[in-house]
Symmetry: C2
Subunit: 270 residues, 2 copies
Amino acid sequence: MDQIRTFTEVSRLSPRAHGRFSALVSPEWTVAGRPNGGYLLAMAARAAAAMAGRPHVIAASAHYLLSPDPGPVELEAEVLRAGQSATQVRVRLAQDGNPCVEALILAGELDPDAKPYWDKGGPQPGAARYEDCPRIPARGPAGLPVAIYDQVQARLDPEGLGFAAGRPSGSGELRGWLALPECEPFDPFSLVYAADSFPPATLEIEVSGWVPTLELTVYVRALPVPGPVQILQRVHLIDGERADEECVVWDRAGRLVAQGRQLAAIRLGR
Amino acid sequence: MDQIRTFTEVSRLSPRAHGRFSALVSPEWTVAGRPNGGYLLAMAARAAAAMAGRPHVIAASAHYLLSPDPGPVELEAEVLRAGQSATQVRVRLAQDGNPCVEALILAGELDPDAKPYWDKGGPQPGAARYEDCPRIPARGPAGLPVAIYDQVQARLDPEGLGFAAGRPSGSGELRGWLALPECEPFDPFSLVYAADSFPPATLEIEVSGWVPTLELTVYVRALPVPGPVQILQRVHLIDGERADEECVVWDRAGRLVAQGRQLAAIRLGR
């Protein structure tokens, strides 16, 4: 680990020609040397919002084609439809001309005065206090180096520490907290990363190797208050060597601010 | 209602030039005159699988730009990456040259011998027996005509009938069953439709008008046994005039075969 840089710094884009941007994928925002998928999707969301002239990302869906190396990448954004209150954009993130991430983004503006109208339909925040959750170390249970955990603070509820000690609880669920480097407040773009920031909750079922994301969709539901966000990551089903994972992100005040859903490949059950 | 046609018939594509297909959107597979979003995504999935030379759809993500009228549409599919066991494809469904649905599809082959390895992480089937669930009528609670319910049999658990009588239970959850016309067995393409086939579960909170889908992602997890599928549709949060809905689809044997997640616009909480 050489230095700590903020999320804003590591996800910055440089505009090139119309609809084209370049960016540098940080070698520190990686898991086993591969860039985190939520981090790459956040870059795509920045390109979409810039093209749309909208301040926020509302929904982002990505299919992962090829894992880029840390270093320079190019992004190309095409407006599909500009509506009255939101714009739909297609973004391709490529490296050396090879498409790596293909994403569809809904860019718009989240209302700072909106209030949750109904929020009783899913899991509720339930992690121990931030201070009581130990930080996840930058080395995974299968020995994988997780450099990104030297950057962000991902903290696990003590109840979910079984897998780290080689004793998965069987719950398929991890709870905890996430804080960005330098205590940077979360915004809609870093919430896209947050929805893919936790270890695979499959680790609480059985330790496996690399669990590469095939598809990731994130909905940003509200503007968060400053401070760390609380996270629930959970698996529903492992079948046919694929696992789905749901991620729920609440801000420090307990408001649901983002939801993620992903399908990943996993070598269990063969 | 003039005639009943199977899902295979109403979602059939005609190949044109390389990567191009034409199709006819049925006026019967509509809600308030607008084609069902899962039905359109199933057409896009067919185009992707055909282009990829793969038999099944594994994951499909769509952003809805413009609701096409029933009638002729054109689909254009581009292979993004052909991997060893799956192919990623981008598909655009357009009408009169106007893009209507933009989709990213993972096409592959589901293993008929796969068995669920772990399935304890989410809701379990819980609807009353198919025979004990009344069929949803082809007219919604706000008076909207739902022609598609004269085609498919969507049946609601009696516990979820409150909204139909103008008394939403407040659960934000609907359970029931779905059968295709002519008892056609489900396949991965019709499962994509199934994941968007139920009424908005927001109706069990408060009756509203049209709830247009902004984004829909479906994962097909396994090949279903013949027979109707059981469905759970539920809301987690309504905030900022948007609602998320999760859909879980089990086959008649109780195996989880598909999962849907959507973000929709809703005029509640203003």
